[in-house]
């Protein structure tokens, strides 16, 4: 089972077209990885599907880095009783 970090990076790569090995935890989705407004929403939607969780839209769209997303998703998974590695 892939870790939260692996899944987040994989989805981020798929949406932004940045190779997964180049994605760093401190990368900002918009400023460093070039995510536009549609891609930001796509990322949130794909995180929800991949982890089986429901995210607060405004809260999720305010997370601006890859590391922040991992932290936020881990917290929501715990709150919603969804297992992660």
């Amino acid at each position: 089972m892939a870790s939260v970090e692996e899944k987040v990076k994989e989805i981020t790569s798929k949406v932004t077209k940045v190779p997964v090995e180049k994605i760093e935890l401190e990368n900002a989705f918009a400023a460093d990885l070039g995510a536009d407004s549609v891609q930001s929403v796509e990322l949130v939607a794909m995180f929800e599907d991949a982890f089986g969780i429901t995210l607060d839209e405004d809260e999720a769209l305010n997370v601006d880095t890859v590391g922040g997303a991992i932290e936020y998703i881990t917290k929501v998974c715990a709150e919603q009783d969804v297992k992660t590695e």
Binding site: D36, V38, V41, A45
Partner: protein, 460 residues
């Protein structure tokens, strides 16, 4: 002088002016001041509000001069809607009709047979004695008549040999009106290009003298016709272009009461609407208008805008049925009147936002990018049009409108991203340069948002 920050943690939305359920209030800090012959003269907005301010209409006269003739049925329908729009206290007080053709007279008869108290029907004739026969036969109490007052008209058009000859001729027609028991409304054509001291004021004096000899109901009304749109509403302007001074001179120097003064403007310099409001504030009770501003050349003050201005000035609707503005616009479009998309209050896109950042604001609180509660007052909720600038917020608003969802029922942006992606790809990948029509987007929504479509639209 310094300006310290007034800290707040809650917004101050200035709701005494911007009460969303009404057009924004027109509030004044004090009197308007105009210098007349070097001395300051005050005009109290409170006094203006206390007068019987009204709107008169010339859609069937000046309005019709700018287009092919309406049919009788069309005019009767417009009259009926106009009556509903103005409400029971007759904010739209009068409308005028030509009397020259069989159709003109049939229209007048059919409008009057509707038995609406307002707008009252009046006539419009040339300043020719014989034309009063038409007014009398039609049984009208009041008629407008052309009494052009600039030398451009007196000498160059009407070919009078002197101003005296001209004034005598006009006064003969006024006397004929009195004799016929018809109230004359003298249309001072081209007043903003006339010699005010040399002709207009002496003529007004003479009309006041003549009126003193007849009953109040017959006394002469004066319509100040800014025929070429030269009138200016701001203070300090020299005559004859100054609206404050023109109204002041007729009202306070010649003694023509406000309820016998009317302003008629033209839009040649884009000032037509503001000039009408100025005339109200400085002493005219009536502003003459046409529906959607349609009139000779560049048009007249738009009737619907004058109504909105009236509500803004008075602070309540006073029985005006504002939603009929939309009904009238739909009717006028259906009979071929072109109304530009960006035309205020009724254009297809008057409250449609295209920019994504604006759509984002609209999503959070429609007041941010809507002028007033356009759904309540005009039956037109704010909308977004979809282009490359719309962003996900714009697409989300569009989808929620499509499914009729509001408040907490609104669909989140994360559920419509596929449609937002298609929109962006249209521009970024396909190189599209035009807006996306509602029909086109609906077709895509049906394809890309299948679950939502099934839930909210079923098989539609």
């Amino acid at each position: 002088m310094t300006h310290p920050l007034i800290e707040r943690t809650e917004p101050n939305l200035l709701e005494d002016t911007f009460e969303y359920s009404l057009p924004p209030r027109i509030l004044f800090d004090g009197p308007l001041v105009e210098y007349i012959e070097g001395k300051p003269v005050q005009f109290e907005p409170k006094e203006a509000r206390s007068r019987d301010l009204v709107i008169s209409d010339t859609t069937f006269r000046d309005g019709q001069q700018a287009r092919p003739p309406y049919t009788v049925d069309q005019m009767v329908r417009i009259y009926d809607l106009m009556s509903k729009l103005g409400g029971p206290s007759g904010i739209i007080r009068q409308t005028e009709f030509f009397l020259y053709t069989k159709n003109d007279r049939e229209t007048l008869d059919r409008c009057r047979s509707l038995d609406r108290p307002y707008p009252e029907c009046t006539g419009w004739i040339r300043a020719v004695k014989g034309d009063f026969r038409l007014v009398k036969e039609a049984g009208l109490k009041e008629t407008g008549m052309l009494t052009s007052c600039s030398d451009y008209h007196i000498f160059n058009k009407l070919k009078f040999s002197s101003r005296k000859e001209c004034m005598d001729a006009y006064c003969d027609v006024v006397a004929a009106a009195f004799e016929a028991g018809v109230r004359p409304r003298c249309h001072l054509e081209d007043i903003t290009r006339a010699d005010i001291d040399g002709f207009v004021l002496p003529f007004a004096d003479r009309l006041m003298e003549m009126s003193a000899g007849v009953s109040e109901e017959l006394s002469v009304k004066l319509r100040l016709c800014d025929t070429m749109g030269f009138g200016l509403c701001y203070p300090g302007v020299r005559l004859p272009r100054s609206i404050p001074k023109l109204v002041y001179k007729l009202n306070r120097e010649c003694g023509v009461p406000s309820d016998r003064l009317e302003w008629h403007g033209h839009n040649d310099f884009h000032k037509v609407h503001a000039n009408g409001l100025a005339a109200w504030l400085y002493g005219c009770n009536a502003v003459n208008t046409t529906l959607f501003g349609f009139g000779e050349r560049t048009g007249n003050p738009p009737l619907e805008a004058a109504l909105i201005e009236y509500i803004a000035l008075m602070g309540d609707t006073r029985g005006i049925e504002t939603r009929v503005i939309t009904e009238l616009a739909e009717y006028m479009r259906s009979i071929g009147l072109p109304i530009p998309g960006n035309y205020p209050f009724v254009g297809k896109a008057f409250n449609t936002t295209r920019a994504g950042i604006h759509a984002g604001g609209l999503r959070q609180d429609e007041r941010i990018y809507n002028i007033f509660d356009t759904e309540k007052l005009l039956g037109r909720p704010p909308r977004v049009a979809i282009t490359d600038k719309s962003g996900v917020d714009g697409v989300a608003i569009w989808v929620n409108e499509l499914f009729g969802l509001t408040g907490n029922d609104r669909i989140k942006k994360t559920r419509i991203h596929a449609l937002a992606r298609w929109v962006m790809d249209q521009y970024e990948v396909e190189g599209r340069l035009t807006a996306i029509s509602d029909e086109e987007l609906e077709e895509k929504a049906r394809e890309l948002l299948k679950d939502l479509w099934a839930k909210y639209k079923g098989n539609a």
